[in-house]
């Protein structure tokens, strides 16, 4: 499931991502697949040695070295100028340093992958606890029942079912009230929130490139509107206070809020 989800994300990202992760062919183990200058350097060294050791046919060697250089470095600008991203089925390794012009993008992917991994870990913890509770419930339930003395009727089956539900709920409640379950649940909630935030950040980066409005912008505008509304209410309060005859009991702040916001229906 995780791999499928990741592939879906990667495919979705590839649709929108103008900042291709550059040529990943032959990337060094542990390095970012999107940035492989170290292997390029090794190849350069090998080609240079071949050129210098070419002996009498230096012209042919020079042509070969020139072709190598054009091939090897022909893709350097691809990542910047929009060649489509290669199909990638795995995220950058989390420990890899993000390097080069796509480093911000790489780090977003790394954070998203890490959040997804934490979410999976938390879900597995919950699943194990759930399984433990079910196992305990089943053992308790079965051990408390002997072989049926009489044939089962629909009514006795229902009673048996109810007894099983009681047993399951009791075992679950013991587990659910415990510290371990609470911590696992909290971790699942936290990692789900982090995964959502990282996903949103990634999508926002695409939205910015497409000049689409982002949630951050809308949030910022919403807060500005709230601040303006509050200033308006404050100004109204000051005006009303100034206009009120001396000694008259002040009306409540909240009543004015209502006046500003509400509409009577008739």
């Amino acid at each position: 499931v995780a791999a499928d989800a990741w592939r879906q994300w990667a495919a979705f990202a590839a649709l929108f991502n103008p900042m291709a992760h550059a040529s990943a062919a032959g990337a060094l183990p542990g390095s970012s697949p999107g940035f492989a200058p170290f292997l390029d350097a090794e190849r350069f060294a090998a080609a240079a040695r071949a050129f210098h050791q070419s002996g009498e046919d230096s012209q042919t060697a020079a042509a070969a070295f020139g072709d190598f250089l054009r091939d090897q470095f022909g893709g350097v600008l691809d990542g910047m100028w929009g060649r489509s991203a290669p199909d990638r089925s795995t995220p950058p390794p989390p420990e890899a340093a993000a390097l080069g012009p796509t480093r911000e993008q790489q780090e977003r992917w790394q954070r998203l992958a890490a959040a997804w991994s934490r979410l999976q870990d938390a879900q597995r913890s919950l699943q194990r606890l759930w399984s433990d509770a079910l196992g305990e419930a089943a053992r308790t339930f079965v051990s408390s029942r002997g072989a049926a003395a009489a044939p089962l009727t629909p009514e006795t089956i229902h009673r048996l079912y109810d007894a099983w539900i009681d047993s399951a709920e009791e075992a679950y409640a013991r587990m659910a009230h415990g510290e371990t379950f609470g911590i696992a649940l909290a971790q699942a909630v936290k990692s789900a929130g982090e995964w959502r935030d990282e996903s949103a950040a990634l999508i926002e980066s695409w939205a910015k490139w497409l000049d689409w409005p982002t949630r951050s912008e809308i949030n910022s505008l919403s807060l500005r509107v709230r601040a303006l509304e509050e200033k308006q209410r404050e100004a109204n309060r000051k005006n009303e206070t100034a206009a009120r005859p001396a000694g008259k009991k002040p009306t409540t702040t909240t009543a004015k809020k209502r006046t500003a916001r509400g509409k009577r229906k008739r």
Binding site: H158, Y161, D162, I165, A168, E169, Y172, A173, A176, H177, G182, I183, L185, A186, V189, K190, A192, G193, E194, R196, D197, R215, I218, N219, S222, L223, R226, T252, T253, T254, A255, K257, R258, R261, G262, K263, R264, K265
Partner: protein, 332 residues
């Protein structure tokens, strides 16, 4: 029997809740204030405003003719108003508890008082709406004549409160971020309190007896209500969880709404506290704590052998709850 049950459920799939005629009398943003039409002649002089929770829809109070708390109250001559908070969307994510209480709830109360030419009304707060009602009555005691709290949490740190145990460990900032909180996710959390009963047994129970149309229709209405869960405005949700579930500010103090301290000791008005002894969402001990905190000398506690939802829709509730409220108010 299973085939018959499927057919009966299918026939009942369009059943809608809400049976009593009402009029929208005021609105503010997504909030709607309704007044129910009288069914017993001239309604009472002092209106009763029902403040429901944000986490579910208020039509549960008026599910169907024979399962309607609202109808029961109307039949006792009460003049009933109800707040529908609406469905928050992305534009509401920065709405705070202060906005709900000092903006919207105050707006409703002021509107009713203005139109009716009164100084105070009666409040009936349900669950989270009860928490709001307590805060409102503490902040604006002059506007509340009598306060009724129903299945209302007050002490959020009682030993059997599973929801609270979970909520205290959760990093609410990470959960909410700058977004709203999905009603569906909250629903999953509520179902996880008793997963076997709430997601398995209640359906299997339908197979116990031949499907009766009225029973199946009632089931479908409740089912629709359970999963009709509005998203929660992010800022208000964060405040509610942190201030109440995590910090238990009713008991420990430090609760402020709009810069004003909320102290339940200031509640000197008559209070009726309705508690469901089988409530799995709001443990009875959590509600009972109100008596010790409130400053009222006219305090009545009524404990009923009901669950959280049963308090509004069970047959027993229809017999007991409206009568208890009606009699208590009539005596005041």
């Amino acid at each position: 029997m299973t085939a018959n049950l499927y057919a009966a459920l299918s026939a009942a799939r369009h059943c809608a809740a809400g049976c009593t005629e009402k009029d929208e009398v005021w609105r503010s943003g997504k909030l709607r204030l309704y007044r129910y039409r009288s069914i017993s002649g001239t309604p009472g002089a002092v209106p009763l405003l029902v403040v429901y929770a944000l986490v579910n829809r208020p039509y549960m109070m008026d599910l169907e003719p024979d399962r309607s708390l609202i109808r029961g109250l109307l039949s006792r001559g009460l003049d009933v108003y109800l707040i529908d908070w609406g469905y928050p969307d992305g534009s509401d994510r920065f709405t705070t508890l202060e906005d709900y209480l000092e903006g919207q709830l105050v707006g409703c109360v002021d509107e009713i008082l203005k139109v009716r030419g009164l100084d105070a009304l009666n409040l009936l707060g349900v669950c989270q709406g009860g928490v709001f009602s307590l805060c409102f009555a503490a902040l604006h005691p002059e506007r509340v004549r009598n306060l009724i709290t129903m299945v209302t949490p007050v002490d959020f740190h009682t030993s059997t409160d599973l929801l609270s145990k979970w909520a205290r460990k959760i990093d609410v900032e990470a959960w909410v971020g700058q977004a709203n909180v999905s009603g569906d996710v909250l629903n999953q959390l509520f179902l996880a309190l008793m997963p076997f009963r709430l997601s398995q047994q209640k359906y299997v129970d339908l197979l116990r007896v031949p499907p009766d149309t009225a029973r199946i229709e009632n089931f479908m209405r409740v089912e629709r209500w359970i999963y009709d869960s509005p998203d929660q405005a992010g800022a208000a949700f964060r405040e509610f969880v942190v201030w109440f579930y995590q910090q238990n500010r009713f008991l420990r103090g430090g609760l402020e709404i709009g810069g004003r301290s909320v102290d339940l000791h200031n509640l000197e008005l008559p209070i009726l506290n309705l508690i469901g002894t089988r409530d799995h969402l709001v443990p009875p001990a959590s509600s009972r704590a109100l008596r010790a905190l409130a400053g009222s000398r006219d305090f009545t506690t009524l404990e009923l052998d009901l669950g959280h939802i049963g308090m509004y829709v069970s047959a027993r509730a229809q017999r007991q709850v409206p009568a208890a409220i009606g009699d208590w108010l009539a005596a005041r």
